[in-house]
């Protein structure tokens, strides 16, 4: 596609990358049909091809974009379905990440919007603050309607509503620490302990560590590691996200140099996509580029790793029909398709595909709070398809999807790893008891 950047603009490495991406797009429109927002709204402004065009014009013009450009970029879920579809290999992810950064730098949002985004960007990546926030949210839950009535705090109501009605206690597996392999040590890995998930669902790390230990894998929760930086990154808060990413790169690099790591595992697929992108994020950084690329190379989803390692034979016959919901970050962001399905089958579950499986459930990081209307429409569409299968349980590789879907269905939702752990000797997931 034709672009009109000046030589001066192209001297900026970010613009130069954006230019390369834009030029690859041949405007064929294939991606539109697999974009959740286009499917819902039927407006090319809310399609990948349209957004690519909006972003192109925004970057070419430079300066602050128009409010409508921001509106349509904001509506993008970053689900990356468009990237799976695009035959020309247009890297929409890098383009929209940069567009968000540009918007954040140049565009002044209305006060309530700014406030809300700032809170999300500060609260979510920090487990301590997040726990406090959840307690506050728990307290505020009954007042959600009140918050909603006041324009400036309207968005906070969404946050309060998200707060669980019961906050789980701290897990014994909170890092940092090392969890030895059972039997002969076959591998040594780091597990990303991350941010919000370890507060909301500590049982996921518990299950992950357990199953790895049983499979002869030593698990390290490295000192200093935390949020992957993905959440602020998607809010356009590039500075924050890079700072968080650097901390992780330092923490794991230290482990690699010290005792070595065979892999850096992730059980929250949204974060996995970000880790695998560190190499790109720091490509221009003289200090971090090499280290970051090494981290990205080692990063793997827990199911990719287990599938390669070989899963132990199941110790039970679960006799359950599982609808497998492929999180966007896993299927589109990381192109991981077979491993989770193969593992579940091998563990003795009957795995079923959900129709329209390529469409996002509307969770998408903070999207469900920032775009509640579209998020809910996608959720309902997904739940319709799931309930049509009438499964015993839904399995997925991302906590965000679980939280999102749980607000609309009674069918139990669990993380893939919980089922695998159970089938190979771990405890039955509480949600199935």
């Amino acid at each position: 596609m034709q672009t009109r950047f000046s030589i001066h603009q192209l001297a900026d490495p970010d613009i130069s990358v954006a230019n390369d991406i834009l030029r690859k797009c041949v405007h064929c429109g294939f991606c539109t049909a697999t974009c959740p927002t286009y499917v819902l709204l039927g407006d090319e402004l809310d399609s990948p091809r349209g957004r690519i065009y909006l972003i192109k014009n925004m970057l070419e013009d430079g300066g602050a974009p128009s409010p409508d450009t921001v509106k349509h970029v904001d509506r993008c879920l970053s689900c990356l379905s468009c990237m799976s579809t695009c035959p020309a290999s247009v890297n929409y992810m890098h383009l929209v990440d940069y567009a968000r950064d540009h918007i954040e730098e140049t565009y002044r949002r209305p006060l309530s919007d700014r406030l809300f985004r700032a809170i999300l960007a500060k609260l979510l990546p920090n487990p301590r603050l997040f726990r406090l926030g959840m307690i506050a949210g728990f307290v505020a839950k009954p007042f959600a309607s009140l918050l909603e009535a006041i324009p400036v705090t309207r968005r906070l109501a969404a946050l309060a509503r998200l707060a669980p009605s019961r906050l789980p206690g701290r897990s014994a597996n909170e890092g940092p620490g090392t969890f030895p392999a059972m039997g002969v040590r076959r591998k040594r890995v780091a597990l990303l302990s991350g941010c919000a998930q370890r507060v909301l669902a500590p049982e996921l790390h518990d299950a992950t560590i357990r199953i790895l230990q049983r499979h002869g894998v030593e698990v390290v929760l490295a000192k200093g590691e935390g949020c992957c930086g993905g959440l602020p990154h998607h809010l356009g808060k590039t500075g924050d996200s890079f700072a968080l990413a650097k901390r992780n790169i330092d923490a794991w690099s230290h482990e690699i140099d010290d005792q070595g790591l065979d892999a850096i595992l992730v059980n929250a697929s949204g974060c996995g996509t970000t880790l695998k992108d560190y190499g790109f994020m720091f490509r221009e950084d003289p200090v971090y580029s090499v280290k970051a690329a090494r981290i990205s190379e080692l990063a793997a989803d827990i199911t990719e790793f287990l599938n390669q390692l070989g899963l132990d034979d199941p110790t039970i016959d679960p006799d359950l029909d599982v609808a497998y919901h492929s999180a966007c970050s896993l299927q589109h962001g990381q192109q991981v398709h077979e491993p989770p399905r193969d593992l579940l089958s091998k563990a003795g579950f009957r795995v079923h595909e959900i129709p329209e499986g390529h469409l996002c459930c509307g969770s998408a990081g903070t999207y469900n709070m920032l775009q509640p209307r579209l998020s809910k429409a996608l959720r309902n569409r997904k739940i319709g398809h799931i309930e049509g299968l009438d499964p015993d349980v839904v399995a997925t590789g991302n906590l965000g999807c679980i939280t999102q879907l749980a607000t609309g269905t009674k069918i139990p939702l669990v993380h893939t790893i919980e089922l695998l752990d159970w089938a190979t000797g771990g405890p039955k997931p509480a949600k199935l008891s």
């Binding site: 041949v26 405007h27 429109g29 407006d43 090319e44 349209g50 035959p87 020309a88 290999s89």
Partner: protein, 511 residues
């Protein structure tokens, strides 16, 4: 709100392409018109900001761009009818748009016309397995129809490579074909009924669930009408039972000549393939890189041949095609062993055009039909032309019916390359005619081949076609500037001039 003169931008690159003169009166009334349209289509359905409208400035043929006057995205047939009635009354031009994948500029906007997007009409209305029909809204994608019925072992046969995205409304308007049209026909052979909104706002129904419905011949007229006769708001298609067995073969050749000869022998042997497609080296490489289809990468030409029908017959035919391939110097043959593999063989072919985006920032997709035996000659000449213009070319060929798609690779950021690509393209089309072929295969006329129409049709032919246009749209408000090089005033053509928006088919049921 944007001031009117800004809307009067012409195609920023192609002064050569003449479009109907802008209606200054309309431009001057922009604010009022937008206000009226907003009353008809509320919410986000009327788009008038320049930054937003830019997204709609072109379709799949990006060489041509034009900012629309205004974009309207109705949600109901009543809204379509109201908008058209308003346009008719106001003298406002209308360009219908589906998914905007046209490769001939059929959905190119007009600076003084409404771009009427139908993508919100994406519901499947009725599936009737007993009668083997599906009735859908026009914005439903081609592939979505098959997806909706495949669970019961049915499919919708025409499968343009763009089927993941293009709409059935657009398919009808372009009479689109696909890789399987060799055996199963074009869109026109697979639709049974249409609902159409005329420029007057009248809603008419043509055909229905049965082939012998009243007004059937009108269906043929409307299929391929490129948005010039009315806006399609509902389509009833025929769905087919999936063949008992379908297997695809990929056959590699050391030269295009060998592949071309092989196609001739297969057809000569009386074998009717479900699909027969050919790609040359650049197309093979680009497509395989995306789809990981398992194509051989050391060949000059690749043939995909699909055979379908009862198992025994398919097995027999595969054996015969293998023999023919061997006799034509095939360097390797692979037969799909299961359904996913068959799909994968096709996935590469279907992604071939945009996959060219991996190796070239822009391509210009040509569409011509040639007598099959002329293929080697045409390809050889094309290589010469490619050298002459200094531009690469990849070829994708519906080998069965001689429909050739050369993809000329150029870089629009390099001054002069687009013009060179266009000249190259014109030479290719001339070459097609010279060897006894025709200019349009399946991508429609649009603006792209509009000015070449007189080379294909006599003036009498063109006048006759325009009389049909006049019968439906006497004021020439629907998609003007497309298909016909010059639109005569309907009065000049005489004969079936229509007054007062009355159309000359009183027997068509309407409501």
């Amino acid at each position: 709100m944007n001031s009117a003169p800004e809307q009067a931008v012409s195609l920023d690159q192609h002064s050569a392409l003449e479009m109907p003169e802008l209606d200054v009166d309309i431009l001057g009334r922009r604010n009022e018109i937008i206000r009226d349209l907003r009353a008809l289509v509320p919410g986000e359905g009327v788009i008038s900001e320049t930054s937003e409208m830019r997204v709609y400035e072109s379709d799949g043929l990006t060489a041509y761009r034009q900012l629309p006057f205004v974009v309207v995205l109705p949600e109901t047939v009543e809204q379509v009818s109201a908008v058209l009635r308003y346009c008719h009354k106001t003298g406002l031009k209308v360009v219908p748009r589906g998914a905007g994948t046209s490769l001939s500029g059929g959905a190119l906007p007009l600076g003084d016309g409404v771009l009427l997007g139908l993508a919100k009409f994406n519901r499947i209305l009725d599936i009737d397995y007993a009668n083997r029909t599906a009735t859908v809204q026009p914005g439903v994608t081609n592939l979505a129809i098959t997806k909706a019925v495949e669970g019961r072992g049915f499919y919708y046969a025409p499968d343009p490579s763009s089927q993941i995205a293009c709409t059935i409304g657009g398919n009808v308007a372009e009479n689109s074909g696909g890789v399987h049209c060799l055996k199963y026909g074009l869109t026109t052979n697979n639709i049974l009924g249409l609902q159409l909104v005329l420029i007057t706002g009248e809603i008419i129904n043509i055909g229905g669930k049965h082939l012998d419905s009243d007004g059937y011949d009108l269906l043929g007229l409307l299929t391929g009408s490129e948005g010039l006769l009315g806006v399609i708001t509902e389509v009833t298609v025929r769905i087919l039972r999936e063949p008992e067995t379908a297997r695809a073969m990929i056959i590699g050749f050391p030269s295009s000549e060998d592949a071309g000869a092989c196609v001739g022998s297969i057809i000569g042997a009386g074998i009717i393939a479900g699909g027969m497609e050919m790609m040359d080296r650049p197309a093979i490489h680009a497509a395989d890189e995306f789809a990981q289809a398992g194509y051989p990468l050391d060949v000059e030409a690749l043939l995909i041949v699909e055979l379908d029908g009862p198992e025994a017959e398919v097995t027999d035919l595969i054996g015969r095609v293998e023999e023919i391939a061997d006799a034509n110097n095939a360097s390797n043959v692979q037969v799909s062993q299961n359904e996913p593999e068959r799909q994968k063989f096709w996935a590469g072919r279907k992604a071939a055009f945009p996959a060219i985006g991996r190796i070239s920032p822009d391509y210009y997709c040509m569409d011509g039909t040639i007598p099959r035996h002329q293929l080697p000659k045409v390809l050889a000449r094309m290589r010469e032309l490619s050298e002459k213009y200094g531009l690469g070319v990849a070829n994708v060929f519906h080998a069965g019916d001689g429909n050739l798609h050369p993809l000329i690779m150029y870089d629009s950021n390099v001054p002069g390359e687009l013009e060179a690509a266009e000249d190259f393209g014109a030479d290719i089309l001339r070459l097609c005619v010279e060897v006894g072929g025709v200019l349009t295969g399946e991508h429609g006329v649009g603006v792209e081949k509009r000015d070449l129409m007189p080379e294909m049709f006599s003036e009498t032919d063109l006048d006759h076609q325009q009389r049909v246009k006049c019968a439906f749209d006497a004021d020439g408000l629907l998609n003007p500037g497309k298909v016909f090089p010059t639109l005569h005033r309907c009065a000049e053509l005489g004969r079936i001039h229509i007054h007062g928006g009355k159309i000359p088919f009183p027997d068509i049921p309407r409501f």
